[in-house]
Amino acid sequence: MDKILCSVATRGRYHTTLPLVLSAIINQTRLPDKLVIFDDNDEPKDLRNELAYSYFFKMLDLKGVQWQWLFAEKKGQHHIHQMANTMGYKWVWRVDDDAIPEPNVLENLYRIATKIDNVGAIGGSILTPPLIFDTSKSTGKIANIDKEPNIQWNHIENIVEVEHLHCSFLYRAGVHDYNLGLSRVAHREETLFTYGLYQKGYKILTVSDAVTWHFKNPQGGIRSETQQELYWHDEQIFRNIVGNSDRTIVVLNCGLGDHIVFNSILDSIPNPMVFGCYPEIIPCRSIAEAQALFGDLDQWNIYKKMAQWNWTGNLEDAYRKLYL
């Protein structure tokens, strides 16, 4: 059976919703193999001697769930999620620190994720009482993100293929990176992440019988930033990525030889938009422009990718894997 990591990013909620979330995770009918709590608090505490937490940790031990409490870098939750994404697990179940899953959520998400081919991410309802949105006409398409409520904001009757997910979900780890170019508010990070999986050809699903209750809390939280310009910055990156969704973004922030090798597969790439350093090899726009448009360029760093993949094939095939 595949290994599942459960990741919880937390800030400012030690004594409000975080204990509820941990209790809900411990009481899942299908337990994760490991739970990692990424503590992004300004003044992190050792909670092992606090009554409720000490019992939580003992319960995890008794149930055979490995657990780890990591003090995060305070760079935003996208950095945290990227760490979880690259910890070597096949699946990661990300749970917000104010989102309380019902006991069957992980079991149902995992069951369907492994029953249907090529699932990239799968999520259930995310309900914020007392709100229930009319999602009867929602499509889950990224193009409609400004026009319709998210399908996850109501009870879901059937399995629906969508293009992006919200809040908490189970995803296939290590196949797509979080955009680390977003600011520390990480506005739209999960939308960009799941949409990136969709663009890579994976199915993004919303399913029934997997309800998570979102105790939206104005206090604390990983997004407790108020600087409007940070949201604007992230929104621009989001718009640029979505606005170019019909293009294959190619970023060659690498050497001359790499450009030459890449050039050999250029014709097979659908509708490419190339950013690079050597326009005499491949007509391209500048790396600085790519940085401004899309934020983080690491997702296109062929050397980082080859290292992640433990690559032993040739460079040309590595480019094919990245772009085709």
Binding site: G255, L256, G257, D258, I260, V261, N263, S264, E280, I281, Y303, K304, M306, A307, W311, T312, G313, N314, L315
Partner: protein
């Protein structure tokens, strides 16, 4: 007579010229690039053919004909005109591959199975010499002359 000589000159140029590209890009830390072949002088001494060295300003001159900072189209032209080329793991082996002209690549710590082309003669002393991590900057790898193949052996492939 003039008309008769002209084609011979072209023929000579095509048959007897070797291009060498001896040096990889300089490292940021100022150390010698571990991919740089250490026995160029010895190898050149073994070759009895005209040699054109290509590279950039600031690199050590190894042959009387050293052409610096050539634009890509000029390099492509030289590749087509030479009998064979000899290089290291740098952009030039990729450019020649793109031109469909095979040559000799002198390897040490980088892996020819990843960064090379099977169309070339890839001379690697020993795969045990390969850097454990092929995807970091080469600044972190020390230059080691013992990891390269001897010039006398290279000569056999010319």
């Amino acid at each position: 007579m003039e008309l008769d000589r002209q084609p011979r000159r072209c023929l000579q140029k095509t048959l007897f010229m070797i291009v060498i590209h001896p040096f990889a890009k300089k490292l940021v830390n100022g150390k010698q690039n571990p991919k740089n072949y250490p026995y160029w002088k010895e190898l050149i001494a073994l070759i009895d053919e005209p040699i054109i060295q290509i590279g950039i300003e600031g690199e050590q001159q190894l042959t009387p004909d050293f052409r610096k900072n050539l634009p890509i189209p000029e390099l492509r032209k030289l590749i087509q005109e030479c009998r064979i080329w000899i290089g290291i793991d740098s952009f030039f082996q990729h450019l020649a591959w793109d031109e469909g002209k095979s040559g000799i690549v002198l390897w040490s710590v980088s892996d020819p199975l990843i960064f090379g082309h099977p169309e070339n003669t890839n001379l690697l002393e020993n795969r045990d010499n390969l850097s454990k991590n092929q995807f970091l900057w080469w600044d972190f790898t020390e230059h080691d002359a013992s990891k390269f193949i001897e010039p006398e052996i290279v000569k056999n492939y010319l």
